[in-house]
Assembly symmetry: C2
Homo-oligomer: 248 residues x 2
């Protein structure tokens, strides 16, 4: 038996999320089924981040154990072959140590939230961005974002169904920048609460629209109450871009 | 009657190309139909570049004449409203002088050709890139590309059905760069022959794969014979990114 680590890209649009579930297709099930088609083994594919329905990944990491002897390139190509035509691809596979755990060994997760900020609807980026028609002030959003960085009780930015034991998280980075018609939010932390990035993005959008002053985001954080913060931004703008592990 | 200039984005995947034709949907017809729905006027929408089936645009320019009084923002929003759900959007509209002609006034056209160069199939960029699995040497491609820059007879890179009077063109820029798994080719000229960019991209791919030495691209150019150059790269990697006009 050998443990493998996979780097994975997917379009979350047609999935109920990363995690295998009763109703609806999941990325995890697509990978587990492709792995079974290759190896005849029913194995758990354990991901680093349990992305929600509609959320994309350019750098999801997962691990799995496999009896069938393989080399890394063959495993990658075989899973990709059996994944077709699902919008999921294994970018790389590599042998991992027995104690490597995609979820618990992760030391940082990096998400990107993209807003297309123009009057015309998205075309080439359709399904990959949140379309906000009214002009956003990205500098004000960046000012507000800075108030969220650090170790805080993020209860105000946590989904009602969040199963984490504690609402305390350390947000290492929350950067906002404008690049033409795009406003991009980049968030990094060891881990996030359920919907945390989307709730932060939705709240920052209120600042960008001028409805909130930046400091109100700090007040929302301090309130420790979900109703004090802004709306949940839609999933299609969110992408899990990378996961870090201590050894790297 | 007023002349208007439009900046247009589209996903060429579902279209037979820019130009209105008997069989199959065209971007031009989609725009003309949306314009008719708004104004009740049947008008020609004249584009700067007649992109082929499957080719995208992020910065196509077109002009049209309209009796119905309108302001630029209303015209933009109204055409976008009536375009739905076609993957075409008017990014901006502006009043133009009577002698402005999207095609004949253009002083430069800029195209980008993107190759996804990795073993795993495209997912988030599916339909927007040419997938080349074997490793490409982008430096060798750049060296070969430099041999095509300048004023030349581009017969070797011209489609059999090209209707241009002359095969002489001045290629102002042909840059190749690698950015992670992407190899991007950027081409700029006052005008291009039919399939010229895709034929250059396909030929450069032979250099990238190591099948051709860079100098052979110069020999293919000098041969003045389509069969001396490489294959036509597929349309989905190509995008018309911008059109310049002298006054800007």
């Amino acid at each position: 038996m050998r443990r493998w680590r996979l780097l994975i890209e997917y379009d979350g649009g047609g999935f109920s999320g990363w995690q295998r579930q009763e109703n609806g297709p999941s990325v995890q099930a697509a990978l587990e089924d492709a792995l079974f088609a290759y190896s005849g083994e029913r194995r758990l594919v354990q991901g680093a981040g349990r992305t929600d329905a509609g959320v994309h990944a350019a750098g999801q990491v997962a691990h799995l154990d496999l009896e069938r002897p393989s080399d890394a390139k063959t495993l990658r190509d075989a899973i990709n072959f059996h994944l077709r035509p699902a919008p999921v691809a294994v970018l790389s596979a590599e042998a991992a140590s027995e104690d490597f755990h995609a979820r618990f060994s992760a030391t940082a997760r990096h998400y990107r939230y993209r807003i297309l900020n123009r009057r015309a609807p998205p075309v080439l980026d359709a399904g990959r961005v949140w379309w906000v028609k009214q002009p956003l002030d990205a500098d004000a959003m960046a000012e507000a974002a800075a108030l969220l960085v650090g170790r805080h009780d993020f209860t105000s930015f946590r989904a009602a169904d969040c199963q984490a034991d504690s609402p305390l998280r350390t947000l290492d980075r929350l950067a906002v920048r404008r690049d033409g018609d795009f406003v991009t939010i980049e968030a990094s932390a060891r881990s996030f609460l359920h919907h945390q990035v989307r709730n932060m993005a939705g709240t920052l959008s209120l600042v960008g629209l001028g409805r909130w002053r930046p400091r109100r985001v700090g007040e929302a954080l301090a309130a420790g109450d979900r109703s004090a913060a802004g709306p949940t931004a839609p999933p299609e703008g969110l992408c899990l871009t990378a996961v870090d592990y201590g050894e790297r």
